[in-house]
Symmetry: C2
Subunit: 448 residues, 2 copies
């Protein structure tokens, strides 16, 4: 496992940001090493439950879930259990007529390239309440308590429903008030600057992507005007949607009501087919992920050293929206999808969402269209990283596929053609769009 | 416990509906009798858990919950556990320029007056999937499956967070398609006709109130125009709100994030301070409710006989919105309130919400203002019933209090002045407004 590296390899106009990330990585000089579970400080398998837990009982646990439906047991798997509400906070201000966002170069143990772009504040509840002492989270005062700034966005959103049990974070964007002290790990960037980096592999992290998905896009970055960008512009017009607001809400409610899954947290020892060895917790016949132990060693005094478990997906996932113009306005093909770890089981996801388990799910509807390599159709195609604080090198290929105006409108009942505006109206509210759909919404925003 | 009675006692212009309810009650001739738990058919206390359960394992159970926060155990109580999504469906159509709703005269064992007004369809999942056979739910085909009509409203809403564990129902209003056969238990009524009945005690049931709260009000019933009704009209204007949309959403998210309660379902035997005797499950020192057994005997062949447990609140609750004009638009004082049984713990409730436990909560903020008897301030003041299918004679005094333009704007942080339009924009989405706030929203709608 390599230590610090240059984060960006193929950017043109983002040289300043690349230099900054390289500079911060050099300053931190931290490395991540895989270790056996027995060498994790203060982590161990609980004798009663078999769960992998921290001695304090806090942070998170690797536990189990069982999913039952009306026909009986449907699935069981290990899962990360962290029933807290964290904060993903982004500070914004307008100076000299230019709006900027305070972006952080953040080290996470599971990150590819060590550092990726993160929101201003990224803190679990344990972090920000400082239950166990530790350093105050920088800039936190803008997001919590009496002195917080004017909120532009403030909404609870879920995270990966396959890997987390009912995890969610407060996604919050705040208008900065007063003087904001500089810090070398932070940088004011325009939306256009962030959007340019979004097309690079593994640079713009998951936690800033989800926050950005909740913000309306810039007026436009001067992307070349063509039929697609015109349709994208029209997709922000509420009157342009194929289905009315009530119909889309009803489609979602129908999908939620149709799901009869009952999900229960269970001891890890009661999850059949998984074995915890000295080095990994893995599915006996091979599975979509394993859990490993990692030690973080800091070369500078800025970052503490620690060890922790990480969930490592075995392969690169794929999430894709098929898109087509309808009546001149771009529509995305959304799917209402149950996932066992989601707080309310069903959320709206991309057209295709394949787990990181090798075989690219040939049987999933529209998987063939989502796997196209036709450059005329591929409007967005980048491998982006998921949360490096819990996942090791977890990557997803995010794609927006322009399937064109001849693509059939008729789709299975759990799918629905929706406009960008309709997704934006939903993402204001908790638990409508899953994390994969939110990343893709941020990617779509960047195409203006 | 009385049998069928005339449902309405002080209506003037609603004689037709009163006669209809009396007629249906006479046709059903059913009576409800309290019985010891041992005489309930197919219900009993589980030897392991102490829960009161049905032999089939279905329907619902009287179980327990424990609530912990960062300081430890906060509360424990019995609760009704019914983790299904039911349907509350209201059929609507416009004929000869008049919009009407298909209202049901529905018998429930816990109802005061035996019959109250209900939506067209009121069915648990066990009912409508007919797991155990039984008669098909009338008019259900308009709300489920391929033939369902165009949805006007379709949203999941919670029920009483003090009595139900994570219960919710699909609130759905559908535009009727095709011929709708008549039935003596059903009647097409205008919104104005329903609203007139809403001021009568115990006539318009909870399940139709929650559905009506999700519908915009009529253009106006010709209520005398005065400063209050003018302010109510202006309260539907999005531009008239004291706080912007983002601020209201942020206030809600802050309240949700601040709640550190962890709620766990536990066996009833692990709830201290409650004792199950032969006739009742009750709190040792007196409490807000008890659980009893009831037998329903039908005098006609239209209704089957059965027995079941019912939760009986010991006293009449009170839920009140304080209201005042701000900038000429009526604002309601909402409170973000955690309740242990709610699906996501925190929802928006009325200004004051007092449990049915005698002492009218003198210490609750604004309880004095909510208890006024000044007729100039009391814009709405009616005792309405909660769900008679699970609760015995559960009543709440619903009040809308006009506190006038001199009332302080400055309120504690969990309170917020919001317009009627802002509540309507939220009630479109799942789990923002609790059931008490929704009943009051329906009452406010009736004041136009």
């Amino acid at each position: 496992m390599p230590g610090a590296q240059s984060a960006v390899t193929d950017a043109n106009r983002s040289a300043g940001v690349r230099e900054w990330l390289a500079d911060r990585a050099h300053a931190i000089r931290c490395s991540v090493t895989r270790v056996p579970f027995a060498e994790l400080d203060a982590w161990g398998f609980d004798a009663g439950t078999g769960n992998l837990v921290h001695d304090s009982g806090r942070f998170f646990a690797v536990a189990g879930i069982r999913v039952e439906d009306d026909s009986g047991l449907r699935a069981a798997q290990p899962i990360l259990n962290q029933p807290e509400i964290g904060i993903l906070g982004l500070l914004t201000r307008e100076t000299d007529g230019v709006r900027r966002y305070l972006v952080q170069a953040k080290m996470e143990p599971g990150n590819i390239n060590t550092l990726q772009l993160a929101p201003t504040v990224q803190a679990t509840r344990s972090n920000y309440t400082r239950v166990h002492g530790g350093r105050k989270t920088r800039y936190l005062e803008h997001f919590r308590g009496a002195g917080r700034g004017r909120p532009v966005v403030d909404v609870l959103q879920s995270e990966q429903g396959s890997w987390f049990l009912r995890k969610r974070n407060r996604n919050i964007v705040v208008e900065a008030a007063g003087d904001i002290p500089d810090h070398p790990d932070f940088r004011w960037m325009t939306r256009a600057e962030i959007d340019e980096l979004l097309v690079l592999d593994n640079v713009v992290g998951m936690d800033i992507r989800t926050v950005l998905s909740c913000l309306p896009p810039d007026a436009g970055h001067g992307a070349p005007r063509d039929e697609f960008t015109d349709a994208l512009r029209r997709s922000h017009d509420r009157a342009a949607a194929l289905f009315g607001r009530a119909e889309v809400l009803s489609w979602f409610t129908e999908a939620r009501s149709a799901c009869d899954w009952r999900v229960a947290a269970v001891p890890l020892k009661d999850v059949p087919g998984w074995t915890a060895g000295p080095d990994e917790l893995a599915a006996d016949g091979g599975g979509p992920f394993r859990v490993i132990g990692a030690r973080v060693t800091a070369g500078s005094r800025e970052v503490a050293s620690w060890s922790q478990p990480l969930l490592e997906p075995l392969g690169i996932g794929m999430s894709a929206f098929l898109a087509r113009p309808i009546g001149g306005a771009l529509h995305l093909l959304a799917r209402a999808r149950p996932q066992a770890g989601l707080p309310d089981l069903v959320e709206i996801g991309p057209t295709v969402q394949l787990p990181a388990d090798g075989e690219p799910g040939r049987t999933a509807p529209f998987a063939a269209e989502a796997s196209t390599e036709d450059p005329a159709r591929l409007r967005f195609d980048t491998v982006l990283s998921e949360e490096g604080g819990r996942f090791f090198h977890a990557r997803t290929r995010y794609r927006v596929i322009d399937v064109g105006a001849d693509f059939p409108l008729d789709v299975p009942p759990d799918f629905r053609w929706v406009t960008v505006r309709q997704l934006m109206d939903l993402v204001e509210h908790k638990h409508y769009l899953n994390i994969e759909a939110r990343t893709l919404l941020a990617c779509v925003h960047s195409l203006r």
